[in-house]
């Protein structure tokens, strides 16, 4: 009996381990319950939503009716397409501008370098809400409000990317850059063909960080977008939740499921990158 206990303990199944698991599973339940309830409601008829008793399972299964209703009430797929376009546009410009700047800060000596880096560190602390007013005014005066450009422009520069990639490039061996110069490779080609490929994990981590942040951002789209056909997912969700007079909870939850699904699926496939991204950056 004691031998069995020891063996179980060694396999992480001793009484104390089981107690910890039980405790953690309660937390897991609390954490995941909203997701469960969201999916459950999206699959259940409206009549069940408004009953005063609790049930774990749809008593009548309505299949994808709620999803069909949600898709017909609002252009959800359009919202998601907007999200994809905006996230991709932002990420591409961020990488194209931040990588060379980070490389210059990491591997070159030039006048103004210390000032530039100090500004990057300062900018790191400034949230979007601070430059929002003047940017809005500028966009209003140039007539570019309510456009994809307006959605993306404040985020083209990611000082966070500069900071992160500088850190990564600093640890890239000078010898390899020297070898590349001796081999006759041009400076830009050294950066994009030799240095950048070795920063793959950091770039992946940053991409995930950037996509998550901008897919989920509500503040800026709320300010600059007035046409529903340009709304990214969170703003679309807000429109949808707003006119809930005619909307059932079922359709609302179906819409929420659809709009959260893409990131969730990416996360489940690339969770290692997500978690490493957080530990590498420590910034949300």
């Amino acid at each position: 009996m004691t031998a069995l206990l020891t063996r179980l303990r060694r396999q992480g199944l001793g009484p104390r381990d089981l107690a910890v698991h039980a405790f953690l599973l309660v937390f897991v339940f609390i954490t995941l319950f909203p997701f469960y309830w969201m999916i459950l409601t999206s699959l259940r008829p409206a009549s069940e939503v408004f009953t005063a008793h609790f049930s774990w399972w749809p008593e009548t299964f309505v299949g994808l009716d709620n999803f069909r209703a949600a898709l017909s009430q609002a252009p959800l797929l359009r919202f998601m397409l907007n999200g994809v376009l905006v996230c991709a546009g932002i990420l591409i410009v961020q990488l194209l501008t931040a990588i060379p700047c980070a490389y210059a800060l990491a591997k070159f000596e030039f006048r103004g370098k210390a000032l530039l880096f100090a500004l990057v560190l300062f900018a790191l602390c400034v949230p979007i809400q601070v430059p929002a007013l003047p940017l809005y005014v500028a966009l209003a005066f140039t007539g570019t409000l309510d456009s994809y450009f307006a959605l993306m422009v404040p985020f083209f520069l990611s000082v966070f990317a500069i900071f992160l990639f500088r850190q990564v490039f600093k640890s890239f061996p000078d010898d390899i850059i020297h070898a590349a110069r001796l081999d006759g490779i041009g400076e830009a080609e050294i950066l994009w063909r030799i240095v950048v490929p070795s920063a793959g994990p950091a770039i992946a981590a940053f991409a995930i960080f950037s996509i998550t942040a901008h897919w989920n951002d509500l503040y800026w789209p709320l300010i600059v977008i007035t046409s529903p056909e340009l709304a990214p997912p969170p703003l679309g969700m807000m429109y949808f939740a707003d006119n809930d007079s005619g909307t059932t909870f079922g359709a609302l939850m179906a819409a929420a499921t659809l709009l959260t699904a893409p990131l969730m699926i990416i996360f489940l496939f690339a969770q290692r990158h997500f978690i490493r991204g957080v530990t590498m950056t420590g910034v949300k």
Binding site: T31, V130, F249, T260, L263
Partner: protein, 310 residues
């Protein structure tokens, strides 16, 4: 601007250096940095200067005139009950979310990190809310906490407890929003703490065991917690900054209601600037907000200096 000027000036000396030895002239570094410098100036530095300047004026978008008010916007803020209510509500939210998310993150990290089985499962489960679209999940939470049909109230009823109208009661609205905030932030903090935990050298635990410290809670208080000190500080400040920026849930779920009980700083600023288009006074609020964030960031960067990345 001074960077660009310094650049032009440096081209000359770069050429001079090039005669002696052929290292790539540093001029190329300016080309590499130029796009970022332009964006930095146009989308960040200039706007900050403008917002600062606007905060001393009565500028309204669409209005023709603009006049200098000095500190009037700030003195008006100081005596504006709406602003103070938003400020108080924000602090209340921070005071609820920071301890809640930091303590639960720490607890989960310590428990999960010691496990032999299931670590990855728990990490994925707890991290899931971080990646979820908060707006969508907020609507789910509003439903969960619904006064009549929400499962939370069903549960309370089943336990024979009184039921609550979370989103209709000015007393309960901030705690309800804080629950959503903690739910989203706990997993994120857990991952940060886990990184801190893995950085604690294993031989410290062995040394503690040799010294006769073998109960888990003793180990936690003598080794783990002191070693996690810097991480904990970092997590607290990061969580404070995140909590200070609370906006999405307010904008979607409550719009500051009921009776202004969930008015928060950013939501007030948003209304002032982008709904009523009173740029001057919104700019003053923005400056106050920036000052708070900068103080927190300053604390954070002092910690970052010590531990650049986890």
């Amino acid at each position: 601007m001074s960077i660009a000027l310094a650049g032009a000036e440096h081209q000359g000396s770069a050429k001079r250096r090039r005669r002696l030895g052929a290292e790539i002239a540093p001029g190329i570094a300016y080309w590499f940095a130029a796009p970022s410098i332009v964006l930095l100036i146009v989308t960040l530095l200039l706007p900050i200067i403008v917002v600062f300047a606007l905060s001393f004026t009565d500028y309204e978008l669409g209005a023709l005139g603009i006049s200098f008010l000095g500190l009037d916007n700030y003195t008006a803020l100081a005596s504006d009950p709406t602003f103070w209510r938003g400020f108080r509500n924000t602090l209340y939210y921070v005071a609820l979310v920071v301890p809640g998310s930091v303590l639960s993150g720490l607890l989960l990290a310590v428990l999960v990190n010691d496990l032999i089985r299931g670590r990855r499962f728990y990490q994925i489960a707890f991290f899931l809310p971080v990646t979820s679209t908060l707006i969508a999940m907020a609507t789910v939470w509003k439903y969960l906490l619904h006064g009549r049909i929400g499962p939370v109230n069903h549960l309370l009823a089943a336990l024979g407890l009184p039921q609550f109208e979370f989103f209709g009661d000015p007393e309960l609205i901030m705690p309800a929003l804080a629950v959503i905030g903690i739910w989203q932030l706990a997993g994120f903090n857990m991952v940060l703490f886990t990184a801190g935990l893995t950085a604690i050298p294993a031989d410290l635990y062995e040394a503690a065991a040799v010294d006769g410290i073998d109960r888990p809670w003793e180990r936690f208080f003598t080794v783990t917690l002191p070693m996690l000190g810097p991480t904990t500080m970092f997590v607290i400040i990061t969580s404070s900054i995140t909590a200070f920026k609370v906006f999405d849930t307010v904008a979607v779920l409550t719009r500051g209601g009921p009776q202004g009980a969930s008015d928060v700083l950013l939501y007030t600023t948003y209304l002032e600037g982008f709904q009523y288009l009173r740029m001057g006074s919104a700019a003053a609020m923005t400056i106050v907000f920036l000052a708070i964030i900068l103080v927190l960031s300053l604390l954070q960067s002092r910690l970052l200096d010590r531990k650049v990345h986890y």
